[in-house]
């Protein structure tokens, strides 16, 4: 148990370091992220440029800090929105039952069978590239696990004696949902959101990598990786660094999510998440 808590604290520390420095990037970044220095293109790491420079002589560390703001905030926003939509649908299904439940459960099944990337490509094809379609693509592909968990938990809670009692006493359904059902869902949903954040962060990067996410002149970790591809041989750090950033954050968040799931004792959450998150490429 002890080494598990060490790895948890390590994950917290790494995550805190990355998030804080990304949040403070306008003040802590050594250079403006767009400042070019063509005399110093694809430079190896040095005292002046800790992680080297890219193909336009821009400081990679500064760009990582700046790009992280987009990667992390979009992934966080998408996680929260997908979580809210999924929870709402899940609770609604469990409370209403009948055809509402059937409809959402079937939709969930069908969405689960479809490759996330194909759905995302489809949405981008229809709406065009940009922030709204990126967010929509992430929510449409991201709400299903939340809905599944919320539905299962809401079913369980609704069968409990205190909910039955509240109903017999004449409490309106909205009161039962907000006073009894949602508080019981909060902890496991938070655990699931943590587990899903890493997944969504990887997907944000994937869409940006394909040029369908964050659009130039703005850049995030995924688009940095894509832009650096032709120069990988001359300056390996240009592709290694952004990938490592995504990897590190996704890994730490997933470790935390698993820990959280263990702490809340949500076996349901642990057994469901890995086997029911298929290809995300």
């Amino acid at each position: 148990m002890r080494d598990r808590s060490i790895s948890t604290w390590l994950a917290v520390a790494v995550l805190a370091l990355i998030v804080l420095s990304v949040a403070a990037s306008p003040w802590v970044a050594p250079y403006p992220p767009a400042e070019q220095n063509l005399a110093l293109r694809l430079a190896p790491p040095s005292g002046a440029h800790w992680v080297g420079t890219d193909h336009l002589g821009r400081d990679i560390l500064s760009r990582l800090l700046d790009g992280g703001r987009f990667s992390l905030s979009i992934a966080a926003l998408a996680t929260v929105l997908a979580g809210l939509v999924g929870t709402a649908i899940g609770v609604l299904s469990a409370r209403r039952r009948g055809w509402v439940d059937e409809f959402f459960t079937r939709t969930n099944d069908v969405l689960l069978a479809l490759p996330e990337m194909v759905i995302a490509l489809f949405i981008v094809a229809v709406l065009g590239t940009g922030f709204p379609s990126l967010l929509l693509a992430l929510i449409v592909t991201g709400w299903t696990p939340f809905a599944r968990l919320a539905r299962a938990l809401a079913y369980d809670v609704s069968a409990q004696g205190f909910v039955q009692a509240a109903r017999v006493l004449g409490c309106p359904p909205s009161f039962i949902v907000f006073r009894h059902v949602l508080p019981h869902l909060a902890a496991p949903m938070l655990g699931l959101a943590t587990l899903r954040f890493g997944h969504l962060l990887i997907n944000v990067g994937a869409l940006s990598y394909l040029g369908l996410g964050v659009q130039p002149p703005q850049s995030d970790w995924g688009s940095m990786l894509a832009a650096a591809q032709p120069y990988a041989m001359r300056a390996p750090l240009t592709i290694l660094a952004p990938g490592l950033a995504i990897f590190a954050v996704a890994l730490c968040v997933t470790l935390l999510g698993q820990r959280l799931a263990h702490m809340t004792g949500s076996q349901l959450l642990l057994s469901r998440t890995p086997s029911r998150t298929p290809a995300d490429a």
Binding site: D109, L114, E116, G205, A232, L255, S275, A281
Partner: protein, 313 residues
């Protein structure tokens, strides 16, 4: 079982119909004049003047009620006539089928590799539960889940194609060209499969029928191979089928990076070039196949696992 079968088939039918309707709508919801877009996918020459557009719209039935158009479109689509690509001006079906066969071989290779690797790793980890080998395997596979393909693939290219020059960096020309893309694509499924196999085997090893088998005189190895290993393979079959559907179009990043002419790349190019007929054909084929495969997998799982049968009558 019969009721389950009937319900599943009904859901399947509704899902496929709904998906096909969404695909049918693509030319209407994307920017531009839908009539001109549809004419361009149906008539080989370039049509510019309004008079011809008017005449063709009537000829092709584009002024009929919406649902008539949909039924007509669906019938054409199912007979394999998906129209002409807006970009290459060749029939869409001639692009979709070769791309599908490339992706299918990529996915089969990937999942085969992942399943074999996961069985070896998962069983090893389970038999060594708590020991060094188990911890090593568990930690590594957990870490690999967080590793994006779009990072792993360029790194693999950098090391094996550019620095060491032992494998080709792109293309789909033979066994050597498949090694890197399959490796990049197989890593995450391997990680998920390994933990599933490990848990399945560990569960079985703790179960009473293993103790019973041992007390009947089976050696430890016999008990493991006859009772624990099959139990580890059960979750694997479901996961492989779920991933199969997911990878059909989900391999887009790996296909783009390695310039593999598969479904993912076809869809990606179609979106970038606003090639609506190809996007329609690609999405329809992937979605249809994914839904059918998932349903079949569900069925197979129910047949393989007797414990699930009673619950769903």
């Amino acid at each position: 079982m019969k009721a389950f079968l009937a319900r599943r088939t009904a859901t399947l039918g509704v899902a496929v119909l709904l998906a096909s309707f969404v695909v049918f709508l693509i030319p209407y919801v994307t920017p531009g004049d839908p009539v001109r877009k549809i004419i361009r996918s149906r008539v080989a020459g370039d049509v510019i003047d309004d008079a011809t557009v008017q005449r063709l719209a009537v000829e092709l039935g584009l002024q009929d009620p919406f649902w008539v158009q949909y039924v007509r479109w669906l019938a054409r689509f199912c007979s394999g006539d998906m129209g002409l690509s807006h970009v290459s001006r060749t029939p869409v079906i001639d692009q979709v089928l070769p791309a599908l066969s490339v992706t299918l071989s990529l996915v089969v290779l990937t999942l085969g590799t992942a399943a074999v690797a996961a069985l070896v790793l998962g069983i090893t980890a389970a038999l060594q539960e708590g020991h060094v080998a188990d911890r090593l395997i568990t930690t590594t596979t957990q870490a690999f889940i967080a590793m994006p393909e779009y990072w792993l693939a360029p790194v693999l290219v950098l090391v094996f194609a550019l620095k060491l020059s032992v494998l080709p960096s792109a293309g789909w020309t033979g066994p050597a060209s498949a090694v890197l893309p399959v490796a990049a694509l197989a890593l995450r499924p391997t990680s998920y499969f390994t933990s599933a196999v490990r848990e399945g085997v560990i569960d079985a090893l703790r179960a009473e029928h293993i103790a019973a088998a041992r007390s009947r005189g089976l050696t430890y190895a016999q008990a493991v191979w006859r009772h624990a290993v099959p139990n580890g393979m059960l979750p694997l079959t479901t996961m492989v089928s779920v991933w199969f559907a997911g990878l059909l179009g989900g391999s887009v990043i790996v296909e783009v990076i390695f310039a593999i002419p598969g479904m993912g790349r076809l869809l990606y190019d179609a979106v970038l070039n606003s090639d609506i007929p190809v996007a329609q054909g690609g999405v329809a084929v992937v979605v249809g196949l994914a839904v059918v495969l998932t349903t079949l997998a569900d069925l197979a799982h129910r047949l393989l696992n007797p414990r699930l049968r009673e619950h769903h009558a």
